[in-house]
Amino acid sequence: MKIYATYNIKGGVGKTSAAVNLAHLAARSGYNVLLWDLDPQAAATYLFRVRPKVKGGSRALVDGTRSLDDAIKATDFDGLDLLPADFRYRNMDLQLDDMKRPTRRIHQLLRPFDDEYDVVFLDCPPSISLLSENVLHAVDTLLVPMIPATLSVRTFDQLSGFVGDFDGRRPRVRAFFSMVDARKRLHRDLVEQLPAERAGILKTAIPALSIIEQMAEQRAPVTAFAPHSVAAMCYEALWHEVNGVETA
């Protein structure tokens, strides 16, 4: 089981769009996939038309009184299941803090699914918190969508440094440019130069396209409702790059 998370300290950078489309593509290529929407805003859950409710909330999941298994819902797409968000996930930090090894709990909770899923995506809320630290310890690869800007690159460096200081198991950190506006010179320059200059930055960039925003109206991944669109092809290239890096 490979675990990925889409994560950034900043919000509105395309985390959920990436998680939803990559998860859909992974399932379409034959993997059994689970997407866990950890963000109390429940955008991924909404996109799959699932109600953002988990019995007992995050407390029951974190302390183990309810199994994750009971909360999983199939999406409309073969091979892709969703663990929905719940507004009570906003308290997850406090609940994790009550546990014995608070930074390893998410990893522990996912372990029983090793036989059931080939790929897990975690769609994380934007923040630095105990939850995000849990995610960093649980994943094999951290996918960091970045809007092309100098400050974003700085944040990526901070994150790489933080993960680099982990004892033992460390996730790979892979950033990719997201919401790229080809009309902006800075965007074009950074997208062109940075992957060659800096390790850990993927070649594929996701452009800012209105069809990606339409996901909220269509309530489906763009790779499902517009599979031949430029946006879908970019996500496909991203998935091949991510999956290729994993299997290389």
Partner: protein, 500 residues
């Protein structure tokens, strides 16, 4: 699975509008297009999946779908062609799930049927798919409708199933699509059941009862010939041999009740058949066991045994040619055809002879006495040939207990057979250890003669022989302990009370 039937059938086509109306207003239906698909179901020759309540199928060029008795499903990639052994399937969860049930048997295609199918989606108020409705129509004019709830939407699945129950003409199905397809298959699981068509009754004349029994073994031999010749899996030959061995044992132990020296006339021919099949089976056993044995090597590298494996495979190929020639020979064909004719004649002649219960009682008691007599002489240091004699007597007793099972009372039978099995396992370990060790030595000698054994291989085979030696020593240690309870007075009493 919910409390409600999720499978329905009806005469004629399923009316999509009626289904839609029944779902309204809680659910909406998005009907998919109708298309003709071909379903192929797979199973082992001896119906292992069917017996476990499991179905394994693929639709058109789709993946394999394994469905468990609780309705849960597992998908995985297909083999390139059928029949296929498990290692012909790509590694993965499906193969892992099949392994404990199927191995070492091959998967065969049981039946392929064409069906007109339509997959529709049932949506809730959020327009989220909560279940799929699968309708299928067969050539005989019947249709089936299946409610397949999506994970996490089981309660909706139950509601939808309840609503389907109210659609005119739809009734809860008692059969699965696999059951229905099996009606069109050339073989069926009931062909394979061991129970005789004419049940064994205590008062049946012994010659008739024994002839019926032998006719079943003859049918088992016939059943397994084609699979053995085609080398589909190793179990065809194994099952063929079991039927031959049972035939020979029955001829030896109760053959005297058959008229016209039948037993004397056919015993040598079945010995020929048994001997014909032995070398390939022995080699099958080595090859099946070799990986396990190689994994236990402490000093040698498992790869050192590769030349031994190649030798066994070459040797097996030569022996298989001899076996196939024998099974295609006029001699074999004549044997089986004469045998069936003679047995049918005995069964048709009917009356005369003692009742089978009386014969069973005497022969089981006699066989048990022999086991006890031999068993009492066994001590921890008894020579191997004495142990082997005991093993043969135990086998004879086991065959009699098995064939006369329907005449036996449950209460004494169960503990008796359980203890006998335990004793036989130990005796089996003892003999296998010895026979295999001797064979490994002989193979090593032949390989060296042929220049096919590098020193590392000979050393590894030496370690194998030592392993087998240790195995036999263990079995010897356990033997006296196993014999004691079997020889106890309790079992004498059980044998006395056995045949009703």
């Amino acid at each position: 699975m919910g409390k409600f039937s999720r499978a329905f059938s009806r005469q004629g086509a399923v009316d999509v509008e009626a289904v839609e109306a029944a779902l309204h207003p809680n659910f909406a239906l998005v009907a998919g297009p109708e298309r003709t698909v071909s379903h192929t179901w797979l199973d082992t020759f001896d119906w292992r999946l069917h017996s476990a309540g499991i179905s394994l199928e693929y639709v058109d060029d789709g993946p394999l779908i394994m469905e468990f008795p609780d309705g849960s499903r597992l998908q995985g990639p297909r083999a390139k062609k059928w029949p296929a052994l498990l290692h012909d399937l790509p590694a993965g969860r499906l193969r892992d799930a099949l392994d404990p049930i199927v191995a070492p048997r091959a998967l065969l295609s049981v039946v392929t049927v064409q069906r007109a199918v339509r997959e529709s989606r049932v949506l809730n108020a959020d327009e989220k798919t909560v279940a799929r409705l699968l309708t299928q129509s067969a050539d005989d004019g019947t249709s089936q409708l299946q409610v397949q709830p999506l994970r996490g939407y089981e309660l909706d699945g139950d509601r939808i199933a309840r609503l389907m129950g109210s659609v005119d003409g739809l009734t809860a199905s008692t059969t699965t699509p696999y059951d229905d397809a099996l009606a069109l298959a050339s073989r069926s699981p009931s062909d394979h059941e061991q129970n005789p068509t004419a049940p064994l009754r205590p008062e049946t004349p012994a010659p008739v009862a024994i002839a019926n029994m032998l006719a079943q073994f003859a049918a088992a031999i016939d059943d397994n010939v084609a699979g053995t010749i085609a080398a589909i899996d190793t179990e065809f030959l194994h099952d063929l041999r079991v039927a031959v061995r049972r035939t020979r044992s029955i001829l030896k132990l109760v053959g005297d009740v058959l008229p016209a020296n039948l037993a004397d006339r056919f015993q040598p021919e079945f010995k020929w058949l048994g001997d014909l099949t032995t070398p390939v089976r022995d080699l099958d056993v080595y090859l099946l066991e070799l990986d396990n044995m190689a994994a236990r090597l402490a000093s040698a590298d498992p790869r050192d045994l590769d030349p031994f494996r190649s030798f066994l495979i070459r040797h097996r190929a030569a022996e298989r040619r001899r076996l196939v020639r024998g099974l295609r020979s006029r001699r074999f064909e004549q044997l089986m055809s004469d045998w069936r004719t003679e047995l049918a004649q005995v069964a048709a002649d009917g009356d005369g002879g003692p009742a089978v219960a009386a014969v069973a009682r005497r022969r089981i008691e006699g066989a048990f006495r022999k086991v006890v007599r031999r068993g009492k002489r066994i001590a921890a240091d008894s020579p191997s040939d004495q142990v082997h004699e005991l093993r043969k007597r135990c086998k004879e007793l086991r065959y009699l207990l098995e064939v006369f099972r329907p005449l036996c009372a449950d209460a004494p039978y169960r503990p008796l057979i359980k203890e006998l099995k335990a004793l036989q396992d130990t005796l089996g370990d003892f003999q296998d250890g010895e026979v295999q060790r001797e064979a490994v030595r002989e193979f090593a000698a032949v390989m060296m003669e042929q220049g096919a054994a590098p020193p590392a291989t000979v050393l590894a085979m030496g370690e194998l022989a030592a392993q087998l030696d240790a195995h036999q020593l263990n079995a010897r240690g356990a033997l006296v302990g196993r014999l004691k309870p079997f020889l106890a007075n309790e079992n004498r009493a059980r044998v006395k009370a056995l045949v009703r």
